[in-house]
Symmetry: C2
Amino acid sequence: MQHEGTKAALVRVGLQIVEERGVATLTLREIGTQAGVSRQTPYRHFENKEVLLAAIAAEGMRRERAWMTTALQGGVGSPESRLRAIVNAHLRLLSQHRFLYELVYGGIVSKSATPELQQEAIATFALLRGAVQACFPEIIDLSVLRLRCIVLWGAVRGIAELEMRSQVPGSVGGGVNDWAGEAVSALLVGWKKGPTRPRKTTR
Amino acid sequence: MQHEGTKAALVRVGLQIVEERGVATLTLREIGTQAGVSRQTPYRHFENKEVLLAAIAAEGMRRERAWMTTALQGGVGSPESRLRAIVNAHLRLLSQHRFLYELVYGGIVSKSATPELQQEAIATFALLRGAVQACFPEIIDLSVLRLRCIVLWGAVRGIAELEMRSQVPGSVGGGVNDWAGEAVSALLVGWKKGPTRPRKTTR
DNA sequence: GCCCAGATGTTGACATTGTCAACACCGAAA
DNA sequence: TTTCGGTGTTGACAATGTCAACATCTGGGC
């Protein structure tokens, strides 16, 4: 890389701080000074703090998606193993970059905060969607496919979050991969073998 | 109720503010003045802001659990429908008290912030555990039961969170109950019909 | 009745931090 | 050369969590 622009430097410094100490300890002022400029300079490049955070989060999502596509490269493996690869890439962001995961998926920034971030989210979801679709080639009703994507993605995200917030009573952590793997297994088996349930919302 | 103590008043006011405008807009100062005392008084009853938030969150969890136990009262229904009732009670907190849900489950306060909150979380998890256990009376290995609880709870939580953060691309919202219902269905079918998966963490 | 300790409440003060305003510089376009 | 938009800087401010010092009140022991 050559002369890195100030804007890029701000994002880089911010990303570094987040990865090291978490988003809670991050201030605009520090980002500025650590990037070699003054405290107010970030405002020349980002509307406010949330927009800067969104830029950092987008970078995190790009990395995650890069892992996903890398894992899918070569195009080999069963649809199921490919789906698992995507899930694992997601969990890899959690285990290897916990603070960044927290920023991206912890609700600190709204996914709609920035068009860029929104695009990233859509692209990631599209990857998942493709993988799920490959597992159920017989599905023609797109709303069913959509439903399964949501359920599966929600399950993975939720399990990751239990781990992230250390909210599993009596757990010493570390089992996320197993838990998520079990979730994927059970869901796939359930969808393969089970009938589509009778519609009726219990109330 | 008679003379409500100051501490209880603080929690009540805080709860009200959270329910009306969300936790982000809540300040200790406002809680104090709205409760009829001065700004610093909350510190006489709560160590710091997080502890006060934890007290509010605990109240939210109590409500949720009250709904759960109410739904279970009478002891009738299939184990599966009882499990669904618990899940629905959880989602009810989301749909009817979104801001409170955000406080309780959005990671604003750590579940271990306070012994009280921790106890609430454990009690809620115990309720779920009992319901899951009833669905699989044949399970003797407690670690398997635990795994299924985690997966199921994670799935529900994750789906709720997707909705909470409006992170489902192209969704107009409202489908959480269906999504969670589908998740429970698929998981139950998968666990009933499917074999326990061969252990092997894909890496 | 008197005194003291602890609980409770109040105001003053401070540091942090996001953010607005005003000013300075600088290169390119007119 | 003048002007203007982009970039950067410092001053200032408001909001807010929190510490410290002071006031009040209340109950128990002498």
